[in-house]
């Protein structure tokens, strides 16, 4: 390696040569790491949202003060193991959609607007919906969510939520961060955290870093052998690094939780024109039907141009079965899941796969035959008629909650702090709410001379977010458990009564919706 770099030396530009040569001074580097105010590990929506927010705070910082970009002076490092270049240049044709789609609540959207990120999203690829139909596959009890009781019939209904491909959101956040310039910002992409340890108090003429986390950040993949590792010290180390957060491990923060033994099956679907055109024409609806006999709800959430994204929570066996089906059979199962009885569905989940000789799959035959004998409710979604190739995938559903979100010089956000059941589509929203809260906390601290890594600062973030996250995560968990009791028993009766009652009490519903909005 040494030899190779020496041989290549004439062909390497001086700045790269400097990078390669600095390996020799590793021992010196080890004593004085590069010092950052915020080191964010993880370049997903939460981590990028935090960086974008910190570089765009132009709000009133003091009650009596002036507007000031007070956190834009912070030195920020972002560490991401993936190649962000792919995320920056992501693009799909207008009729194709990624299968990783999130439902953003209005407060998430307004946060993204406030940090100047929303305008960097491709808004032709996002879809608002103004109504949500949720019903029980056993009893048929139904609840519909919209804002109609809050608004007059003559104005447009406000959105319940906005569907956005995660890739679109990530690309938008990256563009927003790029627009903020590169002063005080270092992006360590294609780099992983090799180690985190406490700094030292070696140098008598330097600061005492013994209570500061110091990260060793090493390149991944082919670059690993050519680029040196960097050592960076963090005044505040933010773990936005997902369910298996290395930052959380370093901070020795335990999590509790369980696996649901369920998988979420996702896919991008094309829908038929609805039988009754929506009124007004821009009106869109999300559908969710609880299927207690199959282990969880199926949801169809609207995307532009009559497309929709599917999220079907079910047992790993059913998930594997669904993924093995041909496109027509898969579509038949999706349409059946919104229409047929539990008994029919359980039967269809067990049919042998179509043999190639047949024109139509047995699933399609079963569906059309059984539909003739099934009374359909009014709220079913349009028929799914197309499956975008390569979009059927599944992921395990889990519940995790970190015992605490903060420890000295550490804060956890997003999935590193909490992973919840996706039945209410709240996971990403909770992460963005974390980031909004943490950026406000940091802003307050900077404007009041506080150390942003100090527990006194971070306590504010933790106390603002821990309970709301626990509440929403717990509600989703409770719903999951209630809707996994099959048959017509007291639980089914109680949950159906609950839905019916809530549906008839506008003020309760309005309260629930405002809570869900966060």
């Amino acid at each position: 390696m040494r030899l190779a770099s020496r041989a290549l030396r004439p062909y390497i530009c001086p700045s790269c040569r400097h990078g390669a040569g600095s390996r020799r001074f590793k021992s010196q580097l080890a004593q004085s790491p590069d010092i950052y105010d915020v080191v964010c590990v993880g370049g997903g929506p939460a981590g990028l949202g935090l960086v974008a927010a910190l570089r765009n705070v132009h709000q009133k910082t003091f009650k009596l003060g002036r507007a000031s970009p007070i956190t834009s002076n912070l030195r920020i490092a972002l560490v991401e193991s993936q190649d962000l270049q792919k995320a920056r240049s992501w693009g799909l044709e207008p009729t194709k959609f990624s299968n990783r789609v999130s439902s953003l609540t209005p407060s998430s959207v307004s946060f993204l607007r406030s940090i100047g990120a929303w305008e960097h999203l491709d808004t032709d690829r996002v879809q608002n919906y103004q109504e949500m139909q949720v019903w029980d596959g056993v009893s048929g009890s139904r609840i519909s969510f919209d804002w109609s009781m809050e608004t007059s019939p003559f104005e447009d209904k406000p959105s319940v939520a906005t569907m956005t491909e995660n890739a679109n959101l990530v690309r938008g956040l990256l563009a927003r961060i790029a627009a903020s310039g590169d002063e005080n910002l270092s992006v360590f992409e294609n780099m992983t955290v090799a180690s985190i340890e406490n700094g030292s108090d070696h140098l008598p003429d330097g600061p005492d870093l013994s209570a500061w986390p110091v990260l060793s950040v090493a390149p991944t993949g082919s670059a690993a052998s050519t680029k040196p590792a960097s050592r960076i010290a963090a005044r505040l180390l933010v773990g936005a690094d997902g369910i298996n957060s290395p930052v959380r491990s370093f901070a020795d923060i335990p999590t509790h939780g369980w696996d649901y033994n369920r998988h979420g099956v996702v896919a991008t679907l094309a829908l038929a024109e609805p039988d009754v055109p929506p009124f007004p024409a821009s009106m869109r609806t999300a559908y969710q039907r609880f299927l207690p006999a199959l282990g969880g709800p199926i949801a169809l959430l609207p995307l532009p141009n009559n497309h929709a994204t599917l999220v079907w929570s079910t047992t790993p066996e059913h998930a594997a079965y669904l993924k093995s089906l041909s496109a027509p059979a898969f579509l038949a199962m999706v349409n059946a899941a919104f229409r047929l009885s539990m008994t029919d569905l359980k039967y269809m989940m067990g049919i042998d796969r179509a043999t190639s000789a047949e024109q139509t799959s047995p699933h399609e035959d079963e569906l059309s035959w059984r539909l003739q004998h099934t009374p359909l409710p009014s709220q079913i979604p349009p028929t799914a008629i197309g499956l975008q190739q390569g979009t059927v995938a599944s992921f395990p559903l889990r519940f995790r909650h970190a015992a605490q979100y903060v420890s000295p010089r550490i804060a956890l956000v997003g999935d590193a702090a909490h992973v919840i059941h996706p039945l209410a589509g709240q996971g990403l929203n909770l992460g963005l709410a974390d980031v909004a809260s943490l950026s406000r906390t940091i802003q307050y601290a900077v404007s009041h001379g506080m150390d942003i890594g100090d527990l006194l600062t971070l306590d504010h973030y933790a106390s603002e977010r821990y309970l709301p996250n626990a509440k929403i995560g717990g509600t989703c968990d409770l719903l999951h458990k209630m809707y996994n009791v099959p048959g017509n028993g007291p639980v089914t009766w109680a949950r159906s009564l609950g839905l019916d009652v809530i549906n008839r009490l506008p003020f309760v519903k309005s309260f629930l919706m405002k809570n869900a909005e966060g």
Binding site: I35, L64, G65, P207, L209, S447, H448, G449
Partner: protein, 362 residues
């Protein structure tokens, strides 16, 4: 005379475990050895002016030294003080907004601060953190600090403050450049330091008025005095003498800003009965406060007026009514609500804690 110490708040498990000390002298005797040591080390290095009397009560000194190790523990006995600190910044910002209303261009960080009775440095360090590295940059916060000199008579606490400051590279850099200083000294000795002795330490960025580095004594744009007034030893000093000295350290047009506790029935109940009650009710270590030393807003205001009239150099006879012209006075109460933290509540001055400020006429 020496500056008194900053108070302590919140639980001191050590003291509580020992049971309720019946009287303050009990503890004083326990720590007698300590306290002699403290006084000597605090006084000796600055002995050149031979200030014989001290505004620092010896028992106060030992009380706070005993709590020193947990000064920076955010969950320790000083928690309630840490929580109050952001309000100090806001109060200073409101004073500055009052005296220099909304400048059209972004304000420079051009104010030199003196923090008297800095203790472990809770306020001093937080203000030092807002000093910009580039002196020509716009001030990052409305407190506009260009430098901070923090003094305390306790060697122990100054050491704790310095050690803690080293743990923040940004603050450490200011300590090294001299923009931020911790001095184990008293206000009286700071005032007595002649300009010639300040030239003996040329690294000092605190040349009181850079334009006129000669004859006048050291003066600062902002002098802060948080939770100090209620700890003055009535045997050796008075708040009037002490505040007059504080005003002497202040430039014309500058603000003297402090916070203290009023001596009223509600404050007696809150601060003596409730706040110093045993765990889990109390939030302040027992023996932190002596109700009789508390001072009311009208008293502070009267002392300050008297102090201003005594003249810039402290010599009675000069000055008089004329020096009160341009004086501005501000006062606002602060209330601690468990679970919610500190909140400024105008009109609550009589309940207990309050902020006060006076601006010296130009």
């Amino acid at each position: 005379m020496a500056a008194p110490l900053r108070p302590m708040s919140n639980l001191a498990p050590r003291l509580l475990l020992a049971g309720r000390p019946a009287t303050r002298p009990t503890r004083t005797t326990l720590l007698q050895h300590h306290h002699h040591h403290e006084r000597r080390t605090a006084a000796t290095p600055q002995a050149r002016t031979h200030s014989t009397t001290s505004s620092v009560s010896a028992s106060e000194l030992t009380h706070f030294s005993a709590l020193a190790s947990s000064w920076w523990d955010p969950m320790g006995p000083s928690r309630i003080l840490h929580l109050m600190n952001p309000l100090r910044h806001e109060f200073i910002a409101s004073c500055l907004a009052d005296s220099s209303p909304s400048p059209s261009s972004p304000a420079k960080a051009d104010l030199h601060y003196l923090d008297i009775g800095c203790g472990g440095g809770i306020f001093a360090e937080s203000l030092a953190r807002t000093i910009p590295t580039d002196p020509d940059a716009a001030a990052p916060t409305p407190t506009r600090a260009a430098s901070m000199t923090a003094i305390d008579p306790s060697t122990n606490l100054i050491q704790i403050a310095r050690d803690h400051a080293r743990m923040d590279p940004a603050v450490d850099a200011h300590l090294r450049s001299g923009k931020f200083k911790y001095l184990n000294t008293t206000l009286e000795d700071v005032l007595a330091t002649t300009p010639s002795s300040s030239t003996s330490s040329p690294s000092s960025p605190l040349s009181p008025s850079p334009s006129a580095p000669t004859a006048s004594p050291k003066q600062y744009d902002m002098v802060t005095l948080f939770e100090v007034l209620e700890h003055i030893d009535p045997q050796t000093s008075t708040p009037l003498t002490f505040l007059t000295n504080c005003l002497r350290a202040l430039k014309p047009g500058g603000w003297l800003i402090g916070s203290t506790i009023s001596r009223t029935l509600p404050s007696f109940l809150l601060n003596q009965v409730v706040a110093e009650a045993p765990w889990p009710i109390g939030v302040v270590p027992r023996g932190t406060h002596e109700w009789s030393k508390f001072v009311n807003p009208p008293e502070v205001r009267a002392w300050l007026q008297e102090g201003l009239m005594r003249g810039g150099d402290g010599v009675a006879g000069r000055g008089g009514q004329g020096l009160l012209e341009g004086m501005q006075w501000r006062c606002v109460g602060a209330v601690y609500v468990p679970g919610f933290g500190w909140k400024m509540v105008p009109g609550s001055e009589d309940w207990g804690n309050y902020f006060w400020a006076v601006r010296k006429g130009v």
